[in-house]
Structures are given as C-alpha cells and as structure tokens.
Symmetry: C2
Subunit: 380 residues, 2 copies
Amino acid sequence: MRIKLNHNLEQLEISGIRLFNSQTTAYDDVIKLTIGEPKFATPEPIKDALKASLDKNRTFYPSFAGSDTLKKEIIAYEKRINQVDYAMDEILITQGATGAIFAALGSILNPGDEVILFQPTYVAYQPAVEFYHGKPVFVDTTPNQFQLDYEAIKKAITPKTKAMIVNSPNNPTGVIYNEDSLNIIKRVLDEHDLFVISDDVYAQLVYDNATFLNQDSDYKDKIILTQSLSKPYAMTGWRIGYLCAHKDIIKSAHKVQQYAAAGIPLFIQDAAEVALNTNVDSMKVFYKQNRDDVVKLLQEHHVPFVYPQGAFYIFINISAKGLDSWTFATQLLHEKHVAVIPGVVFSQHSDHYIRISLAASNQECIEGVTRLIHFLQGQA
Amino acid sequence: MRIKLNHNLEQLEISGIRLFNSQTTAYDDVIKLTIGEPKFATPEPIKDALKASLDKNRTFYPSFAGSDTLKKEIIAYEKRINQVDYAMDEILITQGATGAIFAALGSILNPGDEVILFQPTYVAYQPAVEFYHGKPVFVDTTPNQFQLDYEAIKKAITPKTKAMIVNSPNNPTGVIYNEDSLNIIKRVLDEHDLFVISDDVYAQLVYDNATFLNQDSDYKDKIILTQSLSKPYAMTGWRIGYLCAHKDIIKSAHKVQQYAAAGIPLFIQDAAEVALNTNVDSMKVFYKQNRDDVVKLLQEHHVPFVYPQGAFYIFINISAKGLDSWTFATQLLHEKHVAVIPGVVFSQHSDHYIRISLAASNQECIEGVTRLIHFLQGQA
C-alpha cells in the first residue's frame, strides 16, 4: 500500500533545534547550552497544589475553555502585571504557549492568509502558520539591531496579511522591543486591519525596566496575547498556558481547543492558580547572574553579541571565525564539547550568530562560554 | 474593527450534547443520564503514581512522541489484549482519544479528502474532519440494526475517499460490530486504498465476548488505532490516550502533536503506565449491572431499544410518543426532571431515539429510566 498522507505536513520539518540537540549526546561531558528550559524543578508549593487537587478527586472532564477559578486568577494577574482588564470570555486555557499559538493562528487564518514573522524568529511559528495553509512572510530585523523598521514592515504587508507575530523579550536574541518598535507596531495597527499575536512567554524574565505592547489598552482588541507558565515557574513539562483576546477570537480558538485536546486537566489548572501567586524572583536573580557573568566574559574578550534585556538567551556574533553557524556549532561540539544552537536555525540572515541558553548552571555557562571564546579565537 | 476569523471554524458548531447538557441545570433535582463519563474518581494507585512522579521532579519537557517507558507498556498491553505487535515508532501518546483522532485525521487528510462516518455517529468526528477541510460522507446504519452494509459503503466510496471511522463498541448505540461487519470492512480494505480509523475507546467495556478489527494483523498497516485511558480507568480529566499506526502515519501525526501541544506531561504519562496495569473489573461489573437492570426494566414495559453489548449507553426507541427526539428530551427534562441526549444529535436518521448513559449510579439509572418509561407511555 502506498501511504498517502497530508502533503502539507510532509513538508513541515522537525525543528532545527531538536535536530541539532540530538547530536549533542555524542559525548558524556558535553556542556549543553542549547534548550531553553529552566534547570529548576517546579517549586514545591505548585507540586503540592496538584497533589491536593488530586486528593479532592479533580479527575473529571474539564470544560474546554478552562476552569473559572483559574480564569479569574489570570484576570487578576494580567491586571496586576500589565494593568489590562480582561473579561472571563476573553480567556482560554491552553497547552502552554504552543497550544495558545496553535489556537490563536487557528482562530484567525484562512488558507492563503499571510502572517508576518520577524527574523531571527522562534522556530515553531513558521510550521504552525503553514499547518493552517497560511503563508509566513519574513521581515529581517538584523539590519536594525533586532528592533523593528516601519518601512520594512510596510513593504511586507499585502491585502492577504492577517497578522504579525511579536515576541518580546525575544527568542533567540533576548532583545526587548523599545518604545520606537512598539510605536511602529501601533502605527501599523492604526493603518491596517490586522492582528498582532503577542507571544509574551518571557515577559516575566526581564532584567531592566521595559514596556510591553499589551499594556496599551487602546489596542486590546487587535492583540492576541499568548502566555505560558513554563518559563517563569519552571513548569515546562506541565503544558499549561493561556490566550487572551477579543471574545470572538476566543470563541473560535475554543473550537480548536475542543477538537485538538478537549481541555486541560483540572488538577494542572488548580496548580496553575498557585503558580501565578508564587514568588519566583530567585530564579530571575539566577538567570540575571548568568547573563551578567557571560556578558562580562564576552566583553573582556571583545566578542560581539546582542545585549539581552530579557529571556535567558545570548545571541553571539561568530563572524570572526569565518564559518557558517551550523559548521561552527558542529566543530565546537566535537572540539570543545560545548553545544549551542546555530543562528541559521532562526534565519538565513543570522548565520553569523549562535544562540546560547543561560538556563544552565552558572558554572556551565561560564565554562561553556570560556571554551566557546577559545574556539572562536583559535586557542587550543 | 471587523473581526475576520477562520471561516471554516465559524461553521463548526459546538456539540449538540454540550448544548443540550447546558439546559439540564434548570432544576436542582435533575437525574442526568447525559454525559458519558464514569461517576468514579480515578483509582488511588494511579493518583499515587502521579504524586510519586512529581516527587521525582518529572516536571521537565516531555518528548513530543511520548515517553519510551509508557510506549513499552502500551506495546505490552496491545500484545496482551489484542495479540498485535507494535514497534516503538508505531505509537504516539496523545491528549486522550480526542487528541488521537485529531492527530490521525491531520496525518492523512488533504483538503477535499472524504471520510466515511457511520450514522448514528459520535458527534466529534464530523467537525474534526471539517477542521482539516475534509468532507464527511455519511452512511446510515439504522436500516441494518446498526451493523454495516457492504453495498451502502461501496456506494459512498469515491476516488477522494481517504478513510472510514469505525467505533465499536459504538457511541451512541453500544453495538459491537459482528463478524459480518468486520468482514465487510476487510473486504472494503482489500478493494480500496484507504485507511480505517478504529476508535476503540470502549473496547475494554465489553460485557460479552467480542472480536475487534485491529486483532487481525493482516490489516495492521491500514488501521489507525485511537485509544484513550479515559473510560476504562476513570481518567477522563487526565487527557491521555494514544495512536497506533504505520510509522509513516505516526511520523506525520507526531508533527500535529508537536504544533498543537508539544507533548503530554511526563507525570501523567508515568501514572498512565500504572493505569494500564490496574485491574478495573469492578467498574465493568458496575456498568454491566446498570445495563442489565435497565434492559430488564425496558423489556418489562415493552419499550424497544438497541441491546448494548459494550460501552455504557442505551439507545432507546421513542417512536411510541410521536415526538421528535429534541422535543421529547426537552419535555422529559421539564416534566420528569430526567436529562437524556436526543438521538438527532447523532444522525437525522435516529430522531426517533434518545441516548441514556449508564455511567450514573444504579439508583439514578433505575429511577431515571422508570420516569422515562412513564413519560413515554403517557403516565403522570
């Protein structure tokens, strides 16, 4: 039998990050600065909340949209952190930000619709757009220090443009969009009938003052906020996040959630309520220390990089070595036993960068980056 | 701003079951025989396994495909129960059967592909097919005592037919496909290049001997098995199930899983391993008792019904009352405070039936059906 499958899916590739990461098991002593996952286990109070929920036998069908009590906590949280008022029918509980982006794109895209992605870009946006037979349209931010450029966006907009995906703090660069970038987005929203999907999964991991798009209520109905509990609360494996948007979008996204998953376990939702009220400053202090130590090391050795104001990544310029980023990362792995992500994975325009994750231990960050500097500068 | 959303989703309706069920809150004393959810909480050993997994800090990213240890348990389970050998790359862990069907359809459907659904049909198949721009083609089983008819299927097949969805034991009828029906499916598979999605979520809730399609290894590569831990282990809220299929289908379904959810929590997968080895005969005895008691009651009062050999539903013929099923169920709710699902929800051909769930308590089943019989036979 000839297996005739979904052509569209056949063309979607497994993420380059996972592909490269699978090579890193070649040696026992590899320092892995690849995956953006906190090294911390989930804090005890959150685990305890799940256990208590199980003891209350919260093992029955959840509603598709999410529990009312968690939605109320999210409303309180968004009000407290971002000073935005959401109503109960403007929230959907999802499988992490992955599920939120999947439901957000599903709620708005018709086949052929275009979605603007800013390069370098998080690797999961493009296949999610293509899953819905949408067309990703790339706008390179490299020439503009990874901030946004009005003219470049205007050139990318067509009558088919349905949305832009904005990710600040950014993966892979750690850049936070400045006032100019935010004003550019607002100007584009004033001039065009389109949505912004604001992927704010790193918004709690910010090391200096910063402003975010969704804090401006004037644009609330054009913004689809996707959020996750994964990074700030060390809950990557829990697969819980949420979507905040206009109620018509939530109604549509709700159907995606209904057909794809039929809801999130209640005991996970109950624990998420506790998470949103857990103080996680100590983790932020840890990442900031890693950032500061690595920044200092790179500066001391005159290695160019993008200064990260948020998230837990540093995007390091490797032009000095004269290798493309995949070759660079491969040689670094084999010669120095340090694993990093090649910049080409995020854009063909960032093939002279590699991304390291600062979510490893401080010792691993310092030792890994020291070896990387030696490799970059041709030392044994 | 005019909200321009996904047209395709806009046309997909929220399930008639949920719609009707939302009416049942009108009275405090309603006997609910609507939703197909076990009344039992999840057994303690399964809850304990989740807690132990949390204590081991299994809170990090899962792989998209599922944990190797759970996949091994599934292989052992399918071998033990169905005598079929699956390889590790023929299994994908999903969000219940909902996620399994979503991934299965996603893995094979191109826009315009047709999927044969047997009516009366579980309500979630049609929107899931339409989600992928597929076309459901209905084959009515009412004239054939809810078994399959070769000529009817042949008439429905076109060059665009990609799959049939088979659900045995069946929701809503409780019917198990007999040897003739299984042979018809095999003959169709011999004659046509198409898949069977075999939704076996009730296969453990069988009250007499029965044979299933996936037990014939000769057809293994044409069968996509979707399974859930929800019903047999009282784990509806855990959202865990799995898909067994040819490795190329799994590879494609894996991408759906990657973009839609990014995997299932490890602590849930760990608990699922324990579930697959938990004896749940006592629950089966409970449902069988409900079935036997309700069957006896209906027979005593000469009410026609479909004899259910599996699952926990009875499909009752309400022709005697001369009302359509929605009106019947609505009046029954208001006059007798008993909630049932109108048969029209499952097919326009079963508008002279209502479905009751046997997952309620024995007392509720008996009292609810007694009131239903009074209503049907015009007694006060």
